[in-house]
């Protein structure tokens, strides 16, 4: 009996292969399929609600899984976007610094050492920052620090890989400056007022102040000549005072410093 069934199967197989598409077995199969079709449709209709329910639950599970996956992807992309934006901003800042270093405005006999700002003043009491360049990079004590906007301050402590910079706005800061238009000179204190401007000198609001960069015999200013410092916002004088009262707004925005150039002398400063 079993052998008979196997032989029948093989015979069916052989005949099916031998005959053409319109042969007897093919047409029988086609009729058989037509007969079975209603049963299949009935089976499908009976099972449809269960299939739909299963599909709904499956879809829900898939959606949850996909949702979690997409959230992960979104977070990763967001992180990447932030990194890219930060990198772009840093790139722009460094390009600006580079452009300044290569421009004629950059002090002669100095090279600019680009350094990222590692920490900013924690409060108004401390006007110092820490930059990522130290003695191993060639930073020296009292090296001037600038950005493309102007003077930032002076290196007051040098570590191996980082240095402390005292900002122009610090109480101890004093810089010799000159009025670019009238050559009136004075000393800028904590970044916002100029002292020692005699009454016969002319200083007006809107004038640009730059570092004086003086030298007298063996003594010389710590700052090279011609670094932009700030704009005069008001200038006045009183009869009881020996000098003019000059208020200044620095060019540099000290609250948003990201990177700076530490000036390293290429020749001994005279």
């Amino acid at each position: 009996m079993v052998a008979l069934l196997v032989v029948a199967s093989l015979a069916l197989l052989s005949i099916y292969f031998r005959e053409s598409g319109g042969g007897r077995i093919h047409s029988l199969q086609s009729r058989g399929a037509a007969v079975l079709r209603p049963f299949e449709v009935a089976g499908d209709r009976i099972a449809r609600p269960f299939e739909d329910a299963a599909s709904w639950f499956g879809g829900l599970l898939d959606a949850k899984t996909e949702n979690a996956k997409l959230r992960k992807q979104r977070d990763a992309w967001r992180q990447l976007a932030i990194q890219r934006r930060t990198a772009l901003q840093e790139n722009a800042r460094l390009r600006a610094l580079l452009a300044y270093r290569d421009s004629p405005r950059f002090p002669k006999n100095y090279r600019g050492l680009a350094a990222a700002v590692l920490s900013r003043p924690p409060s108004q009491l401390t006007q110092q920052i820490v930059v990522a360049a130290g003695s191993t990079d060639g930073v020296l004590l009292h090296a001037p620090v600038v950005t493309e906007d102007g003077l930032v301050g002076l290196v007051t402590l040098v570590g191996r890989n980082q240095s402390q910079v005292t900002l122009l706005t610090d109480d101890t800061s004093a810089v010799s400056v000159v009025d670019l238009r009238t050559q009136a000179s004075g000393i800028l204190h904590h970044g916002d007022s100029v002292d020692r401007v005699t009454k016969d000198e002319v200083v007006d609001a809107g004038d640009t102040l730059v570092t004086a960069g003086w030298h007298d015999g063996k003594l010389s200013s710590l700052y090279p000549k011609g670094i932009p410092v700030g704009t005069v916002t008001s200038a006045g004088q009183r009869d009881i005072d020996a000098y003019k009262t000059v208020a200044v707004t620095p060019f540099v925005d000290f609250s948003s410093l990201q990177s700076v150039l530490v000036l390293v002398a290429t020749e001994p400063v005279r």
Partner: protein, 173 residues
């Protein structure tokens, strides 16, 4: 005769459901083969002859429904039914794990057999898809439906009465 008719109806329903419902269920890329499980259950319960005949009938139905090469599935399922029946009559007799063992092994052998036949007949035989991507899932799903299917088939086709095993031999002479 009644048993044969019942078996034919059970296999017919299983083949219809397999083609219209279960073949569209895909869980982790695997599809349960309920017809195969029903056939194995019927063969284990009613013996190799019923198994072979049910396999031939089931294969014929599946090939007709799918307009596939007539005889291919019949040949495979006839052998499956016969083998499962013989297993039920001999080693697997009265053993509760027999359906699971038979379903697990036959699912693998059936996949290999189908691949071989398709290959010989110069029909598409994606070995990687059948043996690597879906076989384990199909085994799992078939094993999952084995117990309910076996219980259901057992209600419809109760096991045939078998003569008691020989307990001892008395030597004469």
């Amino acid at each position: 005769m009644l048993v044969a008719a019942k078996a034919a109806v059970v296999v017919f329903v299983a083949a219809i459901l397999q083609a219209s419902v279960f073949s569209s269920i895909s869980i982790l890329h695997g599809t349960p083969d309920v017809l195969l499980v029903v056939l194995i259950a019927a063969a284990l319960l009613r013996g190799s002859l019923v198994g072979a005949a049910a396999g031939f009938w089931g294969g014929l139905l599946i090939d007709t429904e799918n307009l596939a090469t007539l005889g291919v599935t019949s040949l495979l399922l006839t052998i499956v039914g016969y083998w499962a029946g013989r297993y039920g009559e001999t080693t697997g007799r009265d053993r509760s794990h027999a359906p699971f063992v038979a379903v697990g092994i036959i699912t693998v052998l059936y996949a290999f057999g189908a691949l071989f036949l398709h290959f010989v007949l110069d029909q598409p035989a994606p070995a990687r898809t059948v043996l690597v991507d879906t076989l384990f899932q199909t085994i799992g799903l078939n094993l999952l439906v084995t117990w309910p299917v076996y219980a259901f088939v057992r209600r419809l086709l109760p096991p045939a009465e078998r003569p008691e095993r020989v307990q001892g031999v008395e030597l004469l002479g």
